[in-house]
Amino acid sequence: MSGARAVRAAKADRSRLPVPQPTRGLPFPAIDKSTLPNGMRVWTVRHPQVPLVAFMLLVRRGAASDPQGRDGLAAVTADMLDEGSGERSAIEIHEALARLGAQFDTDIGSDATVASVTVLSRFAQRALGLLSDIVVRPALREEDFTRVRQLRLHRLTQLRDMPSALADRAFLRLLYGAHPYGHSPIGSETTLASMTVDDVRAFHARTIRPAVATLIAVGDCDHGAIVRLATEAFADWIGGADAEVSDGDAPPQAAAITVVPRPRAPQSELRIGHVAAARSTPDYHPLVVANTILGGQFVSRINLNLREHKGLTYGARTSFEFRRLAGPFALQASVQTSGTAVAIQESIGEIAGIRGERPVTGDELALGIAALTRGYARSFETGEQIGRAAMQLALYDLPDDYFEQFVPRIEAVTADDVSRVTARHLDPARLVTVVVGDLDAIGRDLGALSHAELAVLPPDGI
């Protein structure tokens, strides 16, 4: 239907904004669950809107499981999964995926390795077979290992010029030291150079096990059919779980500023934070609300201050990275060089303020809660979104009704809760600041910031 059309309509009332009407909730779709004889869990969610199926195979071991002196091994292992299987070369595996029009990805975090493949639903069976070949039976050949490691070494070389990567790596190192979370998944030149293909084979055999794996399928699919296909595809995969990493000693932190010099840089890349809370913290929901107000949304205190009032940055944000062990709280922003000291001072002032002299107001609390709850249904629109949500349940041992409970639990958060959890989990006296920037231009101003010592860390010392 097309064409010009006149509609008789009321005139707009521009004297006030329309008040949003209540919107029906969207119950999180049911997850059908089975466990195969080998211990692998198979979870499926029906989501038939588009003829696609998204598969995600989550293994609850990641970069935190890197052995001593082998930083980067989990990531290299994940990278090697699609480098051939059985007699098939890496290219042949990818040709098989390409014939299905598949979107394939591997992802490595501290606590998990995920291989995912999304295909048109008519290719579900073939995709699952390939996923099994890739994760369970990778060839792990020496010549492929040599090439993959070399590419990662080249990548590390290139990251020396990437301010955000330098800042991330320095920040984790300063926060965690030798703790399992103290390195980026990619590792370092030294640890990669000392690695062998036997390390990869041993790591794969030890960590990529069905007992710690969950296969999630979301889309135009049926639970019984997926379980049958998975049983067939993963039948010969066996093995119990190795030990999960536990908290080592994170170094005691005192407030300090560390500069990674980047001469003539037009901006300073900032990270400010400290080790905070694990995903299992009972303070999770109040912390989510607190972060939203502090730096988690466009109208957060920190973004309004640094971007909308001072024009120092394209954007500033904070996050609590909730992991299986205590993860970092971090503020991140790229700020213009001339505003570096001001931005740090204001950021630390905002972090201190929300837990002390400037507690959240009723309006801020209402806005933060509304922003988190009213649009919640949006998080479950696509199969991949639903799959990622289900992965949270699998990775962090969350209850089945977690998503049903999210909105009421966020709505129950009070201003006192926010004050209590920010006082407990944010500590200005321990804030570690990393600045990748032009030391000559900013050194004096940073030295004048009274709260901390100034250290210099060369890029190749990270």
Binding site: S2, L17, E269, Q297, T313, G383
Partner: protein, 439 residues
Amino acid sequence: MRQLPVNISFTKQTLANGLDVLLHEDRACPIVAVNLWYHVGSKNEQPGHTGFAHLFEHLMFEGSEHHDKGYFQPLQGAGATLNGSTNADRTNYWEVVPTGALELALWMESDRMGYLLAALTQAKFANQRDVVLNERRQNYENRPYGLAPMALLAALFPDDHPYHWTTIGEIADLESVQLDEVHAFFRRYYHPANASIALAGDIDADEALALVEQYFGDIDPGEAVEPVRASAGLQRDVRIRFEDRVELPRLYLAWLTPAMFADGDADLDLATDLLANGKTSRLYRRLVFDERMATDVSASQNSREIAGYSQITATAAPGHTLAELEAAIFEEIARLAADGPTDEEIERGRVQAEAQFMFRLQTVGGFGGKSDQLNAYNVFLHDPAFFDRDLARYQIVTGASLRAAVNQYLDPARRVTLSIVPEGRPALAAVDSAMAVVS
């Protein structure tokens, strides 16, 4: 050929003031995507005034006459997510709102379409110019290889061609822009006759149309905007280089190619994919996998409204030169031009195109999604029902048509060859490269 279920049901109406209204019902999730396109981008700018369309987009979030403060607060408070973006050809604004907040989103979009200027102060303007200069520093100046687009576009398109500059614009232009230009720009481009709005999601089409009419119907239509016309032609191999704070030298090859939806566009999409997209591609296999002379290689056909360009990018592995990369890439292009693709490559291209279409239809809105796609087809082709024919463009590509496009467009004698090399190492550039000035 199999019937492909890619069409989505929608209605199109045009209000008396010229605003196109596209409505698509999808009641699965209680959300509505509001997506508003203005047919203006950096292509409508003039030399000396670049970066303006994008800076203006920032100002659209800072308040309007009847809501003279930030646009994020009421919408985020209603559970919406929202953003906007500017490219060479268009500017879009979108919200994804819970169903009950649709009217709020329409109120706000219409207020900034009809009543922006009264709220636009020098202070807001100065603040957002600083923000944009910081966006430029973050995404271009302080990023390795970040100035490549500036150098490539400037070499591909002549000085007075509107694709000669990037959407982020030149620093000097951004610093010298005046508030009165904002007013003129708004009057010229931001009106119903130069806009198209799409609503997709949990709506009743009749009710939604009445709401759009209520909020947008009395905005003055504005004058029609004349299409931008310009032509470009490369007559030689333009070889340039610059030094950057990078560790490894990188080679960029670029050619002028057909515009979006024009003959040859889909062929080049598939050709660049089979050359350098993913591990199955010819150049990845040869340069990265077998001969290990490159750390990465990629290619794309970047089609725009009035012209396009194809691009191949490869980074030299330590110990290898850009000359080796250049020679190997042109051998592979010559082989493709001579022998065409294999049947397997054509079949893979087709199934990948089909899957990519499905991936795009999963969401109602945001960047991409059904509402944005409806607007794209409507603004560029005046035909929002183009989904099936767009996919068909890829299904009818043959080995012969792809080979012809490669022969015609990826011509070694008419291209831009850009080398970005580590500071102080100009000798690492491809041979005979002239120094380019970029900032």
